[in-house]
Symmetry: C2
Subunit: 84 residues, 2 copies
């Protein structure tokens, strides 16, 4: 009955890949990104390993720091249409 | 230094509006949507009032139940391009 089991794993991996890619494109270390976000460096690492079930406010913080929209940060690369 | 303060409030409101709109378009009660998602009815209500800092896995569960993508569920209506 529930659609909840395993929900979010794909999305977690998409978020993980996008955070890592965008951070590297911006030549930011995990520590530098963490500092901007007010998060701990190890937290960024765990997000990039898709280990975290991140909250919407943290996703918004990451998106802002990486200068992309929240939907963009959750969209698999290759399906994003232009504009950054 | 932190960009974290108040982060996610806009996104929470976008999610809230989209969940309510899509649920109503599908003629689902809060209780029916909650049942499909394996969540409590009052939880759906609090999401629709933008009171919740929802986790990515719950966003994914809601998106699946409402038959939209996660990025679409987090995109302000009017900026979504076609396809549902």
């Amino acid at each position: 009955m529930s659609t909840g089991k395993q929900a979010g794993l794909d999305e977690r991996r998409i978020l993980a890949g996008n955070v890592r890619r965008l951070r590297q494109e911006r030549a930011l270390s995990q520590e530098a990104l963490a500092e901007v976000c007010g998060l701990h460096r190890t937290y960024i690492g765990s997000v990039e390993r898709a280990e975290r079930n991140v909250s919407l406010s943290t996703i918004a913080t990451l998106a802002k720091a990486l200068n992309v929209s929240v939907p963009e940060l959750l969209t698999q690369k290759g399906t994003v249409r232009g504009k950054r």
